[in-house]
Subunit: 134 residues, 2 copies
């Protein structure tokens, strides 16, 4: 189990981080995620860190990297589920997660992505009722 | 990080298992999941095991337990993302995951839950267009 699974949820990808991101795991997550965005044409990536109790500068950089990488493939990244203590530590460390969107939980993250991407993302999610509205 | 996060996705709960389920962790997952079903009134639980490369009789029993427990709270459990090798091992071990629904991936698992639960679940998911159809 040395891979972090990436779940496809409609037009979005969902990653839940539950283990400490050491070097190799973080790099393979980056690669897997970018390949998956490329393969599926996903427009949004949700990264759930609700199980993460410590975010250090390494993890901050990884999240920033993922956000930048997905952006060049035309996908937005939202980090969700951050624990209050993690938010406090981040700011005290002077890490502000530049370029990374955040949301309270997965549902709000999805709503944020849908707002950012406009009605297109919705259409892909609800296959049936999006034939030819125009 | 000794808790497995439970994500709320509309009317369903999603759990991704990425680490080996030892005794205490499995018990706390059971408890957390049942409490969460009770608190949120969720009608379905999706358990993603795509990162799991070995399923033994212990894990089989945990999955069976969770399915039975959620059923008495009127929620269905679907195990998704099982790797082919795991399916082979399960059957060779004589474990058939009785009472546990399975689906190929999260999306199909959600579709299965929606079929099982009827239109109610759909309505809860798409808040807007379910005001008073009747």
């Amino acid at each position: 189990m040395d891979k972090i699974p990436i779940l496809r949820m409609g037009p979005f990808l969902l990653v839940t981080i539950q283990v400490d991101l050491y070097d190799r795991l973080a790099l393979s997550l980056e690669t897997d995620l970018i390949n998956m965005v490329h393969k599926t044409g996903s427009r949004g990536v949700l990264i759930d860190i609700s199980a993460v109790s410590i975010v250090d500068s390494f993890m901050g950089r990884i999240l920033g990297n993922i956000a930048s990488m997905t952006r060049v493939l035309d996908a937005e990244t939202v980090v969700v589920g951050m624990q209050p203590a993690v938010a406090i530590t981040l700011i005290e460390l002077g890490l502000s997660l530049n370029g990374v969107h955040t949301a309270l939980n997965v549902e709000r993250g999805m709503a944020l992505l849908q707002t950012k991407l406009g009605p297109d993302a919705d259409d892909e999610m609800a296959d049936d009722d999006a034939d030819d509205t125009e």
